[in-house]
């Protein structure tokens, strides 16, 4: 879709996004009281990613934009991933060094 002709999204899509976000929020609240062990954080993150994805794709219209716009939108997330990954490679390998006494 050309940027000169903005995509007109039907109202029902916005309501669907709203409903998804409400359900997602309720799910976040619900899982916060459950103990999934080591899966606690991944589960919470998965719900958050779905919610963010719905907002970016539908509410922010990225789904109907050119590939270039999609690439720029994805770029932000890829760079966020590199920030996390390269920071965690420090935190996760700190214990690997032998401690000499």
């Amino acid at each position: 879709m050309s940027s000169n002709h903005p995509h007109i999204t039907p109202l029902k899509t916005y309501f669907a996004v709203f409903a998804t976000l409400i359900v997602g929020t309720w799910l976040t609240y619900w899982v916060a009281y459950k103990d999934f062990g080591w899966l606690n954080t991944p589960v919470a993150m998965a719900i958050a990613i779905v919610k963010a994805g719905v907002v970016v794709l539908y509410f922010m219209h990225v789904k109907w934009q050119s590939k270039l716009t999609m690439m720029f939108a994805a770029g932000g997330f890829i760079w966020l991933f590199t920030l996390f990954a390269f920071t965690l490679q420090d935190y996760w390998t700190r214990d690997w060094m032998p401690i000499y006494k």
Binding site: W79, T82, L83, Q89, T93
Partner: protein, 547 residues
């Protein structure tokens, strides 16, 4: 009178400068050229402010005793020098002044894609400056420009929160400019201006804009977290509340190392233009130089941990960061080799901009190669936080970016204002800057290698000779920088009137008037040839050299 020096017309053509003289026509202007001029004036003021702090630092270090400034005052002075120079000169210098003026003209556009956002970016920048100067006036900050925790978040008595807000706001100015450049370069190129016909100045600004967009939000968030922790004790960096001070450095350098490339990449773009124009040759290996800008932008994101070898960062992470640091040297070296190859067998014309360009190549190479010392983990343990580091980044930032800024400003001065600057004065200032710069910073490599730590206002007596040499060099450097600040404004009234293309250079900016009209071109230009399409064996015209 040569053909390149035009006779002033009785009725000068309407251009962006004389179209309206009212003050409102400037402060509310959305013309990218006028905004560039406003940035130029503001940044010139900030150079004087930051330079004044530098003079105080060097005066203090002229003697071994801490006799001119108290240690706490000294901390504030070098912090303000860093904050002002990094955020208000080095980062916006080339993009906001030369980029704003030239990006639309070089691609054949009327203006940037979002002219109002461009004006907004200037005023956001101005607010950032006012807040920073307010923080300075209210007692200053003493954390160093890096705002390292836990000092900044817990212990410092300075105006850290206010300065943090100032840096946060200034970051938005960068983001707005970067956004404008990306959209403009994608969407507003003239017919025929394909990606591989774009001048390398544009490629450099495109790569820089990507870095700005991807990294600046991270430093903004980091600085906000410091302010939140300081004001409301939110636990992010303070171990008492469950935070980690090293996390700050990860987040800070995720922006601030790429920020080095925000400073140097546009400068490299300027150098490509200068070397080509004054060697009368197409840039050697044009596509490789273009892609090297993108490579620097991307690889530069994965090296930040080399600032943290001695912080308690995992050794394994250090190895990864060290190896990638070596990789980023490759595209930088490609540029240097290609500039030299461009000059080879070219008709090299030693104008002031070319003097600055050649100085850049030498100084940047020294700065870059000493970066390899510091990127090597073992050697960095010895050199970390010494004057070796100070000398290294000044060679890159001042020897690199500032030298290129002067070169670019002289090169495009006739285009910006329609007047020639005094050529011999320009050459003299370039020579003084080159000598003064090396005299200032080369002794600091030796001092650092001998172990002199940075950020102290006293030192053992045996280091005085080298420190004094550095202070003397700084005086010379200051004179070198002040000279253009006098003769460039002088030339606005007394300089020879410049023709469209006083250098006989290729590029769309040389096909429009000097100074350009408000919308840059009378009709949309059509590009039919590659960038720098100088004929084989082209020579500078003898009459062109009269300027």
């Amino acid at each position: 009178m040569s053909s390149t020096v035009a006779t002033p017309a009785a009725e000068p053509r309407t251009n962006y400068l004389n179209v309206d003289y009212g003050w409102k026509s400037w402060v509310f202007s959305t013309d990218h050229k006028r905004i560039a001029i406003m940035y130029l004036i503001t940044i010139a003021f900030m150079i004087l402010v930051g330079g004044s702090f530098a003079i105080l630092v060097r005066l203090e270090l002229a003697t071994p005793a801490g006799d001119l400034l108290q240690s706490e005052t000294y901390n504030k002075i070098f912090t303000m020098h860093g904050v002002v120079m990094v955020f208000f000169f080095l980062i916006p210098g080339v993009p906001a002044v030369l980029g704003n003026f030239l990006v639309p003209i070089m691609i054949g556009a009327k203006d940037l894609a979002f002219p109002k956002i461009n004006l907004l970016s200037y005023y956001v920048f101005l607010v950032g400056i006012l807040l920073t100067l307010t923080a300075a006036a209210m007692g200053g900050i003493d954390t160093g420009w890096t705002f390292y925790t836990p000092y900044s978040s817990t212990y410092s008595n300075g105006q850290v929160a206010l300065a943090a807000v100032a840096v946060f706001i200034t970051g938005f100015s960068s983001i707005l400019t970067g956004l404008n450049f990306v959209v403009t370069i994608h969407k507003m190129r003239a017919p025929g201006m394909t990606w591989f016909r774009m001048p390398l100045f544009i490629w450099a600004h495109y790569a820089t804009s990507l870095i700005i967009l991807l990294s600046t939000p991270v430093v903004a968030i980091t600085i906000v977290l410091v302010a939140l922790e300081r004001l409301f004790h939110v636990g992010v960096f303070d171990p008492t509340y469950g935070g980690d001070p090293v996390l700050f450095q990860h987040m800070f350098w995720f922006y601030s190392h790429p920020a080095v490339y925000i400073m140097i990449l546009p400068a490299m773009g300027v150098i490509s233009e200068l070397i080509s124009a004054f060697s009368k040759k197409r840039v050697f290996g044009y596509p490789v130089v273009a892609f090297s800008s993108l490579a620097i932008a991307v690889i530069g994101f994965f090296v930040w941990g080399h600032h943290m070898f001695v912080t308690g960062q995992s050794t394994y992470a250090g190895v990864v960061f060290s190896v990638i640091t070596m990789l980023v040297a490759v595209p930088s070296a490609i540029k240097v080799f290609n500039w030299v190859s461009t000059m080879y067998k070219g008709d090299v014309w030693m104008t002031t901009p070319m003097c600055f360009a050649i100085a850049f190549i030498g100084l940047f190479t020294v700065g870059g190669l000493t970066g390899i010392f510091l990127g090597t983990m073992g050697l960095d343990i010895h050199m970390h936080d010494t004057y070796f580091v100070v000398a290294h980044f000044h060679y890159v930032m001042v020897g690199g970016m500032v030298t290129a800024f002067w070169g670019g400003l002289h090169f495009w001065w006739p285009k910006m204002f329609g007047r020639m600057y005094p050529e011999n004065m320009g050459r003299v200032s370039a020579a003084i800057i080159f000598i003064g710069f090396n005299m200032t910073f080369f002794p600091q490599f030796i001092l650092g290698y001998m172990g002199m730590p940075r950020r102290y206002h006293f030192y053992p007596e045996e280091w005085q000779v080298l420190n004094l040499l550095s202070t003397a060099g700084a005086t010379l450097l200051g004179i070198g920088y002040l000279l253009p600040m006098v003769y460039l404004p002088w030339s606005l009234k007394f300089g020879k009137v410049a023709s469209k293309n006083p250098w006989g250079a290729k590029g769309l900016e040389w096909e429009t008037d000097s100074p350009p009209t408000t919308f840059n071109f009378d009709k949309v230009p059509v590009v039919t040839e590659e960038a720098y399409a100088y004929p084989e064996g082209a020579r500078h015209q003898p009459e062109a050299k009269v300027v």
